[in-house]
């Protein structure tokens, strides 16, 4: 069984001191330890941004891809090798700006993977610009007069896209986030966790203190995770109180389970020698 020590890599961490990403890194590695998975049976996929460095900091299989394309890349891996535990990491700009088009589709296909979005509501690595989840009026270098557009609501969006596991975490509460990640990985189908992740350098608004004063846990208030209507209602809650935890969960066949030719076979292990195309050739004569 894997230990936290096993998961460490020799790479020097270059996140800013106090970055919210540390909480996600800690929660993810702790979740892997709790789940007792072998590290060579886990694949993480990341996009571009501060979150993308996860591939450098966790010693599991990894594909550090390009901006916005975590989900299709992970989809290709999951479908052809279901024995792997596939976890995608994306930033808010990565997933909700550049990659927004893939988000709904991965959810509606119910690809059997977990997506963890490092949602700091700002572009960090490019030195502070607005993103799809930046609050209205948020001033950045690209919006010096304040962000005009309304922020997207990823949790609500996941719910209306028929998400089968929709959750929100907070990187300031590692214990809670760890439990969410454990549940997400255990869930068969697409698991989505939007994680509030304070950017200590570029987001002056949504800070640790800001979240601390607002977040509360759905599971401590008797929320029924099987009630999509209620989940939707909860997803719209924003302001003085902001819910974290599992909004909704249901059992539903994943995309792969609807492919009779695949099911749980690792396509990577099927022989490709001597494939008999004669029946097709016959139909062409």
């Amino acid at each position: 069984m894997v230990t936290l020590e096993d998961l460490r890599t020799p790479k020097k961490n270059t996140w800013c001191p106090g970055c919210g990403n540390f909480g996600i890194l800690r929660a993810f590695t702790s979740a892997l330890v709790q789940l007792g998975v072998e590290k060579d049976q886990v694949v993480i996929v990341s996009g571009i941004g501060c979150h993308g460095k996860m591939v450098n900091y966790v010693d599991v299989n990894g594909f550090h891809g390009i901006h916005g394309r975590v989900l299709p890349l992970a989809t290709g891996i999951e479908l052809t090798k279901p024995s792997l535990t596939v976890v995608g990491f994306a930033g808010d700009a990565d997933c909700y700006d550049e990659g927004w088009g893939h988000f709904s589709h991965a959810i509606r296909r119910n690809i059997d993977m977990t997506l963890i979005v490092h949602d700091n509501m700002v572009l960090g690595l490019t030195t502070g610009q607005t993103t799809a989840t930046s609050q209205k009026g948020f001033k950045t270098k690209s919006t010096p007069h304040g962000s005009i557009a309304s922020p997207l609501n990823p949790v609500m969006h996941a719910l209306v896209s028929n998400g089968t596991f929709v959750a929100r975490g907070y990187s300031g509460d590692v214990k809670h986030l760890t439990s969410l990640i454990v549940e997400a990985i255990k869930h068969e189908g697409f698991s989505f966790i939007d994680v509030f992740q304070p950017c200590v350098t570029f987001n002056y608004l949504n800070t640790f203190d800001w979240y601390k004063a607002r977040v509360y846990k759905l599971q401590e208030e008797g929320h029924d995770v099987t009630d999509r209507q209620m989940a939707l209602k909860k997803s719209m809650e924003w302001g003085e109180r902001i819910p974290i935890g599992i909004f909704y969960q249901e059992e539903s066949p994943s995309y792969r389970e609807s492919l009779p030719q695949i099911k749980d076979i690792n396509l990577t292990e099927t022989s490709i020698e001597n494939i008999d195309i004669d029946p097709i050739l016959q139909s062409m004569t």
Partner: protein
């Protein structure tokens, strides 16, 4: 009498079953022992407009459509008005005499023969759907040509379900019987063209389109993952593979975009399966960032680029060779790739198989570049030799456990630049790759020395690839060794060029032809050899700027003498092309 040599056009509105009729007639000719070539012309619409399908059949081997039409099956008046000038002297038109009024005077040009057949009334009599006028017309054509209706019925039975087959057979018989009665006074002139079942039966031949041959090549090569977004003229590959995915343990996924498709394919390949996508120019534009990622992460993928007339949306359903430079240079940065251009259906099959081997051996993207003309035209070809191209996955370990003494490194620096590939999930190994520049273990790096080492590593693979390509057919030479003119081309112009050569070389050896199959890396030595012995060179291409001439200039520092370029979305016709070549002689 002109026996077993004919060009037939079927024309009408979109939605009238034109392509299907062409397909059925062509297959009938093939089963009758003839060589056939079928090509379609359709517009970007679903109903209305004007579509046509040309079937050429011949006892001799043929490579493309002809310039003219011997028999026109006109399902509406527009077809006659648009195509009557393409009819040969003594050619005929089958049309619905009750719907379209044509006088002999009006159609006097070229001594055209008129064969009115009451298509609509016959369909009514059969209580069949109006679309079946085309089957009645096909039956009439077979009767007029004195051909064998039984063969046609066999094709119908193989193609349709019992109920539909039955009514089609009845409709065809009605047209056939009507046309066989030559005493009809409204039939003007005897039809000289006849088809007769030949002994040299091509029963074992396949009637196949370029797209299908690519799809078949992928299945045979063990492609297990295909993802694409529909885009004409690449869409039929998606249809073909989706139809067969369950029989061949393959995943075919209609992605939300071409961006998604290329990334899914990269993911599947990283996981360890052979994976492919196909698109046309616009979709390929969207794929370019993903393409670069496969170059950087050394993830083998096969991409089929089925060209159509551009730029931008251009003519979505017409042919072009305008994307050659784009295929060679697409994406930022520098990395090795292979670009292969099949010129006919057989090459579509074999070269697709080769593309998978090259992609995996060198851990690079392989691009197969075709075009609408090749992708959607059909021809009768010898059934494929399934043993010709073996499967070579290169330095890929499929062991479930990693046996190496040192920790596995995906991007290990080696003599030829090729690192051992293993699949994620292999016990005892971590497979890490990275679209950022990376070290041997796949960790991000910005170190200048390592950046150089890694770029050099990737380009060492190119040296190995170039050397290996000596074992592949990167060019093909046709015709006499010595000739007045040497034609150079790539891709689908092959068919019309070979037809034009038949005409040019009838009496004396006037032309030969070098087909370039591998455009990147460019087969310098082969092309050099041919150019050195050529008296006069002419490049034939379906584009405006003669991209091949540019490549020759770039790689060989020499110019070609002439360029014959066609960029109206339509392929060259043989006679027209031979005349243009004559003009430069």
């Amino acid at each position: 009498m002109i026996l077993n040599q004919i060009s037939v056009m079927i024309g009408g509105e979109a939605g009238a079953g034109i392509a299907r009729s062409g397909f059925l007639f062509a297959k009938t000719c093939m089963r009758g022992g003839l060589h056939v070539f079928g090509t379609n012309d359709y517009q970007s619409l679903i109903r209305g407009g004007h579509n046509f399908y040309i079937v050429r059949a011949d006892a001799e081997e043929i490579y493309s459509q002809a310039d003219t039409i011997d028999l026109l099956l006109a399902l509406n008046q527009e077809t006659i008005l648009l195509h009557r000038n393409e009819l040969t002297h003594g050619g005929g038109i089958i049309y619905d005499g009750e719907e379209v009024e044509l006088s002999e005077d009006e159609m006097g040009i070229n001594n055209v023969r008129l064969y009115p057949v009451p298509l609509k009334s016959m369909v009514k009599e059969l209580e069949a759907r109006p679309i079946m006028r085309n089957t009645v017309a096909l039956g009439a054509a077979i009767g007029l040509l004195n051909f064998d209706l039984k063969i046609f019925n066999g094709i119908i039975k193989d193609t349709f379900k019992e109920e539909i087959a039955k009514i089609n057979i009845a409709a065809a018989k009605m047209g056939f019987d009507y046309a066989c009665d030559f005493s009809r006074d409204q039939f003007i002139g005897d039809f000289e063209y006849h088809l007769k079942k030949t002994k040299g039966s091509r029963k074992k031949h396949l009637f196949i389109a370029g797209n299908e041959a690519v799809g078949l090549g992928a299945i045979q090569a063990g492609c297990k993952f295909y993802s694409a977004y529909p885009m004409t003229p690449a869409t039929p590959i998606l249809h073909f593979l989706a139809e067969h995915e369950r029989d061949y343990g393959m995943i075919v996924i209609h992605a939300e975009s071409e961006i998604s498709a290329i990334n899914m394919v990269a993911g599947a390949s990283y996981a360890g399966v052979r994976a492919m996508t196909a698109t046309s120019g616009g979709g390929f534009c969207l794929m370019t960032e993903g393409l670069g990622m496969t170059g950087m992460t050394e993830t083998p993928v096969v991409i089929v680029l089925t060209q159509r007339t551009g730029p931008s949306t251009g003519l979505p359903t017409y042919t072009s060779q305008g994307d050659l430079r784009f295929a060679i240079h697409a994406s930022q940065g520098e990395f090795p790739r292979v670009v292969i251009a099949p010129g006919d259906m057989e090459e579509c099959f074999y070269k697709t198989m080769e593309a998978f081997n090259l992609a995996e051996k060198y851990q690079i993207p392989a691009i197969i570049i075709t075009d609408k003309f090749l992708a959607e035209s059909y021809s009768s070809v010898k059934s494929f030799d399934l043993n010709r191209i073996g499967i070579d996955r290169g330095l890929l370990s499929t062991q479930l456990e990693y046996a190496g003494k040192e920790a596995y490194q995906r991007h290990k620096l080696t003599g030829d630049g090729i690192s051992l590939r293993i699949m994620p999930g292999t016990k005892g190994a971590i497979v890490r790759t990275n679209a950022d520049e990376h070290d041997e273990s796949g960790y991000t790096t910005e170190d200048p020395a390592l950046t150089v080492e890694m770029a050099d590593k990737r380009f060492k693979k190119l040296n190995a690839l170039i050397k290996d390509l000596e074992n592949y057919e990167t060019t093909k030479f046709f015709g006499p060794k010595e000739a007045e003119v040497t034609i150079l081309g790539w891709g689908s112009t092959k068919g019309p060029i070979r037809e034009a050569m038949k005409l040019l070389n009838k009496e004396e050896s006037r032309s030969n032809y070098l087909q370039i199959l591998c455009l990147c890396p460019f087969p310098v030595a082969n092309v050099q050899g041919v150019l050195d012995s050529a008296k006069l060179t002419v490049v034939v291409e379906n584009n405006r700027t003669s991209q091949l001439s540019g490549l020759i200039r770039e790689n060989l520092l020499r110019d070609v003498d002439h360029k014959i370029l066609k960029y109206d979305g339509r392929q060259f016709n043989p006679q027209d092309l031979s005349q243009k070549i004559q003009e430069v002689l």
